[in-house]
Symmetry: C2
């Protein structure tokens, strides 16, 4: 039996499990239909997502869409949709591009989402109106074999940490996995093809749409203006390619089921960093009360902004990681150094511009020597405003370009030793000893 077959045996839901899930879904749909029958509008009920498409893994979510006629005003649609969800599921409101209800039904997670019955997915009213078309498309293009191949790709993506389009993962959505397997005709063919991908790869199952930016483009077969892979970040893209290359050379079930790592001890971490002579700094902010996905986008933005600032001041970032707890946002940076030379060459204006006069005036009594000319510009050896990384960040982090809801006044910094003693060992292990999941 091939490795893929063995994996499939582990991940394909059993016939019994499948029957139960289908039956639960049917009962849910029936309950929703009967709830809605009292309503003045003619609202359709449709099971969408992986259960509808037959590409689900064990313990799937149920995605049920309430499909409103186009003529219904958007606020009516939202009000009726949310009330239905609250009444049927006793669930809570979630906010994607528009609100929906997340709850439980007979032990399964359920998303109950109102949308509009548009006739053409390129003419959608709300972003989720496309989903029913995606469901129909995948159902019509797959058979049992291909649905299993899709399951393999999803679990492979999950194993290598590339599964999911949400802002923290920046990876491959379920629908992207489905369209890739349909396009290439199977899991292994997808892996073989992806091992040869380069930045800018462009894939069209049906019509090719306009040129789009991003590491990869997969034109949505139901709406070629849209890139199904728009959430894929260059690093997730590269991780998938690297994993595919590696899998083809030495296939292993670790790609699908990476063993959990045990974090290194404080002493091991200290030795790792000490051995390479690097220095750590931790930047923490209070967690603002913002939607989780939105917040993760802001954390990535903050991480890049602070890394740029650290690099611009010559602390030189080797690596960075981030984490979020119930109350805190935590960023940890590994640096080449955390203390700078006392002075630096401050490059001023060209001699011939007007502002050179004020430069000369400002620096004429400079403690470290007067202005001198280099490459036609006034220069001066100036004292650094901040020599240590924490001094610099206290002064500069607020203007580095951090996420809009992240409040600079809540910033706390930990130097090298405090980072080693206080920050979670799993996060520090990820920082100081990063391993690909399939290498663990």
């Amino acid at each position: 039996m091939s490795l893929e077959e063995k994996v499939l045996q582990r991940i394909r839901p059993s016939e019994k499990e499948t029957a139960e899930i289908i039956s639960t879904a049917e009962r849910l749909k029936e309950k929703v239909r009967s709830y809605l029958s009292k309503n003045e509008y003619d609202i359709g009920v449709m099971l969408v997502g992986s259960v509808a498409k037959g590409t689900f893994l064990s313990d799937p979510d149920l995605d049920v869409f309430l499909i409103f006629p186009e003529k219904v005003p958007k606020q009516d649609m939202e009000r009726i949709g949310l009330t239905a969800g609250e009444d049927i599921l006793q669930g809570e409101r979630m906010y994607a591009e528009h609100p929906y209800i997340r709850g439980k039904f007979d032990g399964l997670s359920v998303d109950l989402v109102p949308c509009f019955a548009v006739t053409d997915p390129s003419k959608l009213i709300s972003a989720v109106d496309r989903t029913p078309f995606h469901t129909d498309y995948v159902i019509s293009r797959t058979d049992g074999r291909l649905r299993d191949e899709i399951r393999l790709l999803k679990v492979f993506m999950r194993g290598i940490g590339a599964y999911g389009a949400e802002p923290n993962t920046r990876g491959f959505s379920g629908y992207l996995c489905e369209t890739l397997v349909i396009f290439y005709g199977g899991f292994l063919n997808t892996v073989k093809a992806a091992s040869e991908w380069r930045e800018g790869v462009s894939i069209a199952l049906e019509k090719k749409g306009p040129a789009m930016l991003g590491p990869m483009v997969l034109y949505d077969p139901v709406d070629p203006k849209r890139n199904v892979a728009s959430a894929v970040h260059i690093d997730t893209f590269a991780t998938f390619i690297a994993a595919c290359k590696s899998y083809l050379v030495s296939p292993n079930e670790k790609f699908f089921f990476p063993p959990e790592r045990s974090p290194l001890t404080e002493n091991e971490l200290r030795e790792l960093s000490g051995g390479r002579g690097s220095r750590l700094v931790t930047v923490m902010f209070d967690r603002p009360d913002v939607n989780r996905d939105n917040l993760y986008s802001q954390i990535w933005k903050t991480r890049y902004a602070i890394a740029r600032k650290l690099d611009s001041y010559d602390f030189t970032v080797l690596r960075a990681v981030h984490d979020m707890t119930r109350t805190k946002i935590i960023l940890v940076f590994e640096l080449e150094r955390d203390v700078l030379s006392k002075t630096f060459k401050h490059i001023g204006p060209p001699v011939w511009v007007r502002s050179s006069a004020s430069f000369l005036e400002k620096w004429k009594n400079n403690e470290y020597g007067g202005p001198f000319i280099d490459e036609g510009q006034w220069n001066v050896v100036a004292e650094r405003r901040h020599r240590s990384v924490t001094e610099m960040l206290y002064d500069e982090a607020a203007v580095a370009g951090i996420g809009r809801d992240i409040i600079p006044e809540t910033m706390e910094l930990l130097g090298h030793d405090d980072t080693l003693t206080s920050v979670g060992k799993d996060l520090l292990t990820e920082l100081l000893d990063p391993k690909h999941p399939w290498d663990v």
Copy 2:
């Protein structure tokens, strides 16, 4: 009496001195003429340069040109010209663009230079054929007053270290000073105009020639294809502008006659560098047997090449100086640091290029952790090949792009402390406490 008048009284040769110089020049010309009268060709003799133009300072050189008919073969012209010089002056051969003789006559330095009598300076055969036209041009455009103004500008240039087009100075030639004063109508007008110059200033006394690169362009009035200021480096250009700005604010005879500086002591130098936390390194090479001007070009090239190398390895040059003794070339650099962090982020190829396989193979057992992905590229925390500046230079100086006749195998390096004890204190003072000559 104005400052300029006072300066002029010091620098203008007396009537007696002038008469003696003119008489010496006449006697030399007569001697050359009578020597050449035996020759088969009809060779003209012409006094050129500052004495001919009346713009000379005290103790001038005499420049006498032997003007050969165009039809004379170049090797005949050189042979006859050099033999004449050797016979008349017992001088030695010099090599500019073509050879000439430098010697002494009645106590004055003499250059005896063979050239061709071209009819149009744009159609020259050898580079010096233009010189007689320069001489005629300046004589025809100046009177006694303007010649004195030229003297002022030359001495001003000399005082600020910007006088001379030779490769070590990279400054303003005598002819450039002459044409500037003719163009602006006097010394002070030139200073006023130059205080407003910007990079790329373009000046045409007669016809404007084609666009040319460089910090400034002065189209040669006798040959507009040529830039009289082509030797002016951006830093000399900037120095002149800065000096002019400063002179207009506080005119002072120090601009013309900068007092000599006494070098700082070793302790003072050590404190200066220690105070700003900088580190010194000295790079020395044996002086190769090459024409002095050519060698200075190569020293500048070497200085820039090594500075680039130091910067690229993060040692970060604050300043540099150079010197040449009878046997050595000496470069000294002031650095932000002379020891680097043990490791650095080594950025490898994008994951999707073919060479990524060999990168992974090479680094898979890396002591400081395996490859990781950043911005779609493989990265690794790698040990630096060299941590100290001297280690780095021993490995890298030969391939930095040093001058072609400078032999990397002769390189000797001095670290911080050895530099302070062994290198000439005047050179270290110039490095660590640079002052504009007019500020001393």
